[in-house]
Amino acid sequence: MSTNQIPVGPFHPLLEEAEYFNIKVEGETVVDIEMDIGWMHRGHEFISEQKTFTQSIFLVERICGICSTSHPIACVHAVEDIDNIDIPLRARYIRTLIGELERIHSHLLWLGLAGHFIGYDTLWMWAWKYREPVLQMFEIISGNRNHYGMMRVGGVARDVDPDALPALLKILDEIDAKMEMIAKAANDDPVLKSRLKGVGVLSHRDAIDYCAVGPTARASGVKTDVRKDEPTDAYDLVDFEVIVTQAGDVYDKTVVRLLEIMESSKIIRQCLEKLRSVSGPIVNNVKEISPGEGIGRYEAPRGEVFHYMRSDGSNRPIRHKVRAPSFVNIPTFTASCKGIPLADALITLASVDPCYCCTERAIRVVGHAEQAESIDLLRLSREKTERIRRTIHGA
């Protein structure tokens, strides 16, 4: 059978970021996938080396609009690791609070997109609707719905207003109720299970070989979570579970993220309760950074964010390395996409929650011939869901 190539991306006006996939198919089956990145390269590492340590935190906050506090937390951890700087207890709780709120809104964003890709537009609208209260909490705490500007070397920049705590807890109660409803609806839906179970499986061995991180690894039975492995901030002071499942398919990745939302909510509640009683400063004054090197990391919604900084004793880093989780998760497509039907490619690519784009439209190229036919991957994915729905519920 001849092999057709389906180029996807890199640019599409509907999506916010650029990636390129060349999907090779035989009939309806994906036999290989090539990935190309670099369309969004902005030279953050180089720019950061021209900035002071404090300015670098603002810079890395702008690497990603969704993980806009994970990079700053990893960055301040790297600087603090150079000099073993301690931070006040109240700042530890505030950092954890912000990080977990970000995890909820990021997972809800992904859940909405995943629902949209498989033709569950109700799930999409629910998830994004219930994401709004999380952004409101951010606005109450930091004044911003995104790019919170909360992190500083030695602590945090802004305290949480004690008078705002009852309002924050009330919003959290509302979010909890809605999350339970979404989780129950997703769990009880036979169509969703049939559509996602066994799709895009990343085996336990492949997850280890590709050094995958975050929910992508945890859904394949790899228990890796920076929050437990190397607890910083208040993660050793709060009670939570690391969610690990074994199947490695898209359904398990969904389950991991849904349950992580519940765990994050648990952590946030504990932090808010502690902020009632724990008082004191929110930042330690750090005057200078000694020569040396430091590693900082944080469990972002997509997995471990890694920052490495080297100081020569001046006020700016001489080397700043940044590694986002998608950089190690995207290569896993090579393993998880082989052998799956084309209609499942879109949701499999989306299942690792990469910062990815342009997968909803593709041009089919037959061999090296001219462009022959347009294929809408989104349509294929939704048609498959509809077929399953009709089989289960009757036409």
């Binding site: 670099g38 690791d81 190397e230 890694f306 080397r319 190690v328």
Partner: protein
């Protein structure tokens, strides 16, 4: 004896100068021993390769690998010093660790380091850049 002390003893002559900090171990490795050390860290000690950092100093180009031992939260960081800055070459660890492929391709792209034995050594992030970036993170005067 903790994990790091045990590692230093087990490695013996395979590793050189070590710098130890809280939960971090930086150590030098000769180029010819890199694959063996990476294999021990990945296969025997079950470490995960987080990433690698290339840095140019006045005398060397150095590659610092970051292996995370997730069971303890420790970091093991083998450091390779490359003397030949004109034609930097080092053995690839991608044949041992599949996850190193993109990490090494990024360093090849930005620093021009030739990873010998890499299965698919091509530029990754700065290829087709409109400004024609060529090894953008190198000191220009030394090229």
């Amino acid at each position: 004896m903790d994990k790091m002390d045990q590692f230093i003893v087990d490695m013996g002559d395979l590793i050189g100068k070590t710098v130890r900090k809280k939960k971090r171990l930086y150590f030098q490795v000769k180029q010819e021993n890199l694959r063996q050390v990476a294999g021990i860290l990945f296969n025997r000690m079950k470490c995960r390769l987080s990433t690698a950092t290339a840095t140019e100093t006045f005398h060397h180009i150095e590659v610092l690998y970051h292996f995370s031992h997730d069971a303890t939260g420790d970091y093991f960081c083998p450091r390779i010093l490359i003397d030949d800055k004109k034609n930097p070459r080092v053995d690839s660890i991608a044949p041992v660790i599949k996850g190193a492929e993109w990490i090494e391709r990024e360093m090849f792209d930005f620093w021009g380091i030739d990873f010998v034995g890499h299965p698919h050594l091509q530029r990754l992030l700065a290829k087709d850049h409109p400004q024609g970036l060529d090894q953008p993170l190198r000191f220009r005067r030394d090229r």
